[in-house]
Structure formats: structure tokens, C-alpha cells
Symmetry: C2
Subunit: 359 residues, 2 copies
């Protein structure tokens, strides 16, 4: 167990790292954030190292200063994780990251273990993209296997020709063509797992996207209790299969015929878990700290229902009105530069949970 008072290392300095550092401080930890971007939002609330992920000397000094390393961002180079793990536990580890970083590896990992995923085919050329489209039938989504987020690195394709064109448009490197899922809704589960196998999960939430960026999370999702239980069981089974220590966010589609299909995994705090900051006794960020430090996992039972809206780009300029709204919980990430679609903050509004405040 890594007790309060120790220093937690965080790879990545965005809002997820910032909120992790704030949650860690709340229960007595210090944090050391390692990130390459000088204007990293997390630097303001922790000890900071601004260096490249390839900077061996900086990595060694970082490793020597912390008791455990976690991350807010799955695209940390594997070599960075390997170097750090010679000196200090890295949770989640390089093996988990290798899968979560690569859409194709992720799909294979899930499919081989019979977890439900939409049909997919690997494609290495425009010609393969055309053939894959024909094999899958109907619409598909062509995706790069690496570095995709918020809709970057993907195209919906509706004809063999579009599949060919999209392959070229998405740049070099392997791709995967996934059958387009005509889903009823998108849900996600954030689950936590400790090294000893203990697990705890927040209830499934419903996510609404706009131009591939998360717009709104409704928590808990309005789905049948049996489906909610199935989603939680699925997320926990994937976390066990992966051997995640820390958090795993599992995005799923609910198909029109009521089945669950896993869309994406993220072994870190997730935008769809931000509501937990204001509606649960222990937030996803504190839960991450607890999981990687081997503390008792916190109670994930919400005491209120919540609607979480991201503040994207210029929307953040609305902060004076939001701060004046009774009951609204405003979170701003301290980012200096506003860019279209950039996650600048979020606002959570609570609603009564059926049956009132649960203890």
C-alpha cells in the first residue's frame, strides 16, 4: 500500500491529470506531473516536469521522486513506460497501454476473448479498404489504429469508393474498418481495479456526442436494471482480462435489439466520469488514486442523478452565467487558449435520484 503523504506520478498534464492531482491532494497525496507541453493545465496544481517522453534523464529523475506512476493519457510511448517501470510501479502497465493505444490490438484482444464487438477488418491499403467494405456490407467507419480521439482519425464510409478515398485521407499507417453500428444509445462504465483484484464500478451513463466529441453525459443511464448490470459485469470482466490496475472506461453501444457492443477502452479517467466529482461520495479521480495506491476502493454509489455538459471552445465564455446559476457546479480547466471543440471545462447539474439521498 502506498499511504497518503506519498507522491503520485502522473504522465500527461491535461485536465484529466489536473483533476487527478486535485483529488489526490484531497486525501493527502502530493503529485508530480510529467508532460511535454509547457502550458499543461495540471502543472499549476502539482510539482511539474516539462520534458519529452523520450528524455531519459528527466524520466529517471521523475521515477526517483514518486512512489507510483499513473497516467491520464493512453498514448504515452511504450518505451517511456518500460523505462519508468524499471524504477517504480506503473499502473496501468505497458502491456495494458499497448492494447489501449492500438485500435486493432484492442479489437483483437476483445474478439479473441469473446467480448462483444462490432464486426471489423484490418486494412493495409486502399484496395483492402474497398474489399473490406464489400465484405462488411453496408456502411462502415474507417479508423486509424493509433492516436484517434474526439473523432480524429476516423471517417464514415458508405461505398467502396469512399472506403478507398478515406484510406488515403487518413494518412499513412494501418487502419481498421468497422461495421457501422445503428445504435439506440451510447453508454459507458468506469470501473476501478486494484492490484489484488478488488473492483468497484460506477453505474452506466449515457453519452451524447456532437461531431464525435462528448457533448453531454446523463448519469445514471436510463436503461433497464438488467442491462445496466450486464454493462457493469462486462466492464469488470474486460478490466480483469486486461489486468488493469487503476481505472478502465468502457464505451459501449446499446443496439436497437438491446445488445451491448464494446466500442472503445480507455485505461484512465474518462470524460464520461466527470459527473462523479459532484454526484458520488468518491469521484473517478479519487478512485484512480485509491486503486493505484492500494487503498480501499471508494463507494461508487451516486447520491444524485446528474447531467454533465462539456464546455467546448468558445462555450467557456459563458462562465459568468454558469457561475450565477444556482446549483450548477462549474469546472474550468485553466486552459489559456480557446480552440474550436477544445475541452475548456464542464458543468454538472444534479437531479434528485429516485428514493432520495442514499447513504
Amino acid at each position: 500500500m502506498i499511504p497518503p503523504g506519498a507522491t503520485l506520478g502522473i504522465l500527461g498534464g491535461g485536465q484529466l491529470g489536473r483533476m487527478t492531482a486535485l483529488a489526490a491532494a484531497r486525501i493527502g497525496y502530493s503529485c508530480h506531473v510529467f508532460a511535454p507541453e509547457p502550458d499543461s493545465p495540471a502543472f499549476a496544481v502539482a510539482r511539474a516536469t516539462c520534458a519529452a517522453y523520450e528524455d531519459e534523464r528527466a524520466l529517471e529523475a521523475f521515477a526517483a521522486s514518486v512512489s507510483v506512476v499513473t497516467l491520464e493519457f493512453e498514448n504515452v510511448p511504450a518505451t517511456t513506460l518500460e523505462r519508468l517501470s524499471r524504477h517504480v510501479p506503473v499502473r496501468p502497465n505497458a502491456a495494458v497501454l499497448a492494447i489501449a493505444q492500438d485500435r486493432l490490438a484492442e479489437k483483437r484482444f476483445l474478439a479473441e476473448r469473446n467480448f462483444p464487438v462490432s464486426p471489423y477488418l484490418e486494412v493495409a491499403s486502399p484496395e483492402e479498404a474497398r474489399r473490406a467494405f464489400l465484405a462488411i456490407g453496408g456502411r462502415g467507419v474507417l479508423k486509424t489504429t493509433r492516436f484517434g480521439y474526439d473523432g480524429r482519425g476516423q471517417r464514415v464510409v458508405s461505398s467502396p469508393r469512399e472506403a478507398e478515398e478515406a484510406f488515403a485521407a487518413l494518412g499513412i499507417g494501418p487502419k481498421v474498418l468497422e461495421a457501422f453500428v445503428d445504435f439506440e444509445r451510447e453508454i459507458s462504465v468506469v470501473t476501478a481495479r486494484r492490484a489484488d483484484g478488488a473492483q468497484a464500478s460506477y453505474p452506466p451513463v449515457e453519452n451524447r456526442h456532437e461531431r464525435h466529441i462528448l457533448r453531454t453525459t446523463l448519469a445514471p443511464a436510463s436503461i433497464a436494471p438488467s442491462l445496466a448490470a450486464e454493462a457493469v459485469a462486462l466492464a469488470e470482466a474486460v478490466a480483469r482480462a486486461l489486468g488493469v490496475i487503476g481505472l478502465l472506461a468502457v464505451e459501449m453501444f446499446v443496439t436497437r435489439d438491446g445488445r451491448l457492443l464494446i466500442n472503445e477502452l480507455a485505461p484512465r479517467p474518462h470524460n464520461s466520469g466527470h459527473w462523479t466529482l459532484d454526484a458520488c461520495p468518491v469521484s473517478q479521480f479519487e478512485q484512480l488514486v485509491r486503486a493505484v495506491c492500494g487503498l480501499p476502493l471508494g463507494d461508487p454509489t451516486p447520491f444524485a442523478a446528474a447531467v454533465m455538459d462539456n464546455l467546448l471552445g468558445e462555450e467557456v465564455r459563458d462562465w459568468p452565467r454558469l457561475l450565477a446559476e444556482p446549483g450548477a457546479r462549474v469546472h474550468l480547466y485553466g486552459k489559456r487558449e480557446i480552440k474550436p471543440g477544445r475541452k475548456m471545462g464542464h458543468v454538472t447539474r444534479l437531479l434528485p435520484l429516485e428514493g432520495g439521498l442514499k447513504r
Copy 2:
């Protein structure tokens, strides 16, 4: 208005400064903490300057780096505040601090404006202490006028001789003898005030002390609505009279015949307001940031009742059990050294508020 993205200066680096910095970060501010103690808990979550309050050069650099200065600790030297206020707004200002730092000045300020306080007399010698005891009649409490906290600098006296002895035992400097109040309960109100006069108050809470240190806060206090309204009105009137910008905590006695007597003022976040972190949409710490930055004051309406217990000294070693308790919200301050009675953390437990979750 000082918008999110700006840097807030905080004088004092204890847990109150730490929690203020965490709350400021939540709504997009950066913080710069100035404190003389190298192991200040707030240093880990903000930019830090470790220097004496008399260090002119350090104060100037600090002032130049921030948009506004607030404080977590009222015993900052007046000269420090004056120096800073030449360069940057200091909220609350030196005039407020001059009163809150000095028990006698505080009593006079309140009595002159007809705010209810217990009878008191200034005493400058053992002989005056004896005479004051006789004048007040019955038991009294002899207190130093400066630097008293958590029961330090005060003695209950039950005879003229004890009054004389206590004067010597409390060291040099003026003292004040207050009539002992046989109260029914102790309550407090944390109120916020902006430069433009806007005010917002949390409901009164009940405080239970043990050896003069706050043990437990029950929120809201179980008192008649009319008495609660009177307590809030009193706190707000004192804040207006003082011209506080920021927070004012007003500790009061409820006498056995149902009157309110003001015991003490603190123009900063207050231990009896920690419950707001977990039971109100906007905590006292965020409210302080909003007040000194001129933002809309937050909604102080609790969505749950709360019991807040301090973790004093060795009690903090109980953290594994507390972290495992469902629903308990544990706060640890990251203090390395455990000392008897030292505030190491606190734990808040929520209870249903009559009528369920309020929006």
C-alpha cells in the same frame, strides 16, 4: 472582476490555504501561496514562496505575480498587508485584519455598534485582573488579546486569585477578561461578501469543542428557524460593518435563555465550514475565491445535512478504516508531522436533508 485564468495570492500555507487553492483550481484559477513555513501543506498544490512575512523583496515579487491577495490566517502582520496593498488588492484588507487580530479591538468594535457580546473588561496587570473578576462576578475567561487559537492564550478563572495567577501565566501583553457564558450551544455562520456589497451565507451550524479545539460540526444547526435567521442576519450585519471582502466566520453562543452572543470573528475560511465541501453546491473555499474575485456568489443552500469530524493528532492514523467506510468523505491535509491536537484532516458524513435533494 478578476476572471478565471488569473492568479490568486494566498497568505498562509496551512490546510485552509491548501483547500482554497484546490477550490480555486476547480474554477480555473492558478494560486501562489506565500508562507514562512517550508513544510506548508498548501505549497504542494500551487506555486509557492517560502519567505518571512517581513521579507520586502519576496513580498514585492509575490504582489507582482498575482491579481488579488487573500489569506487563510488572520495573524499576518499589518505591515505585510500594507506593503502588498500598494501593489495589489488585499481582500480582506488591513483594517479588517487589525480588528480580527486583536480580541480587545474586536470586542470594542462589536460593542460600540451594539452587536451582542458577553460582558468583558480590558486588564493590563494582575491587580486589574483581580478587580475585573470582581466587577464581572462569577466565572470568567481571561484571554490574551492576540495570537489565541484552539484554546491557546486563554484560562477559565473562578476566583480573584485565579484571575491574578492566570494573568501571569498567560505571559506579557494586554488581556481581556470575559464573563463566562453558560451557553446552551455554540453555533457559527460563514458569510461571504463582495466588494459591491453582495452577500451570501451558509446556514448556521453547531460546533462541539473538546479541550477548546473543534471536534465536530453538525450542519445545519438544530435550532428554531427564527433563531437561524437571526444568526445569519447578525453575521451579515457584522460583515457589512467591518467591510469584509471575502469570508467572515462568526462564532456565537446560544444562551440558555435563547439569545445570541458573538464570541469570535474570523475573516477567512473556517473549520466549521468544511462540511460545505461535501454538502453544498459551492464550498466555502470556492465562495472565498468568488467573493475576492468579484464573481457571482455561489448558491450556499446545502443539498444534504452533514456531520464533520476533525481528525486531530493520532486520530489521522485511522485513515484506512475511514477510507473504507461507505459514504464517508475523507480529507487529509498532507501534514508530515503528527502532534497532539494538530488538525491532520477531517471526515464528513452526509445525512438526508428534510425534503430530499433541493435544486
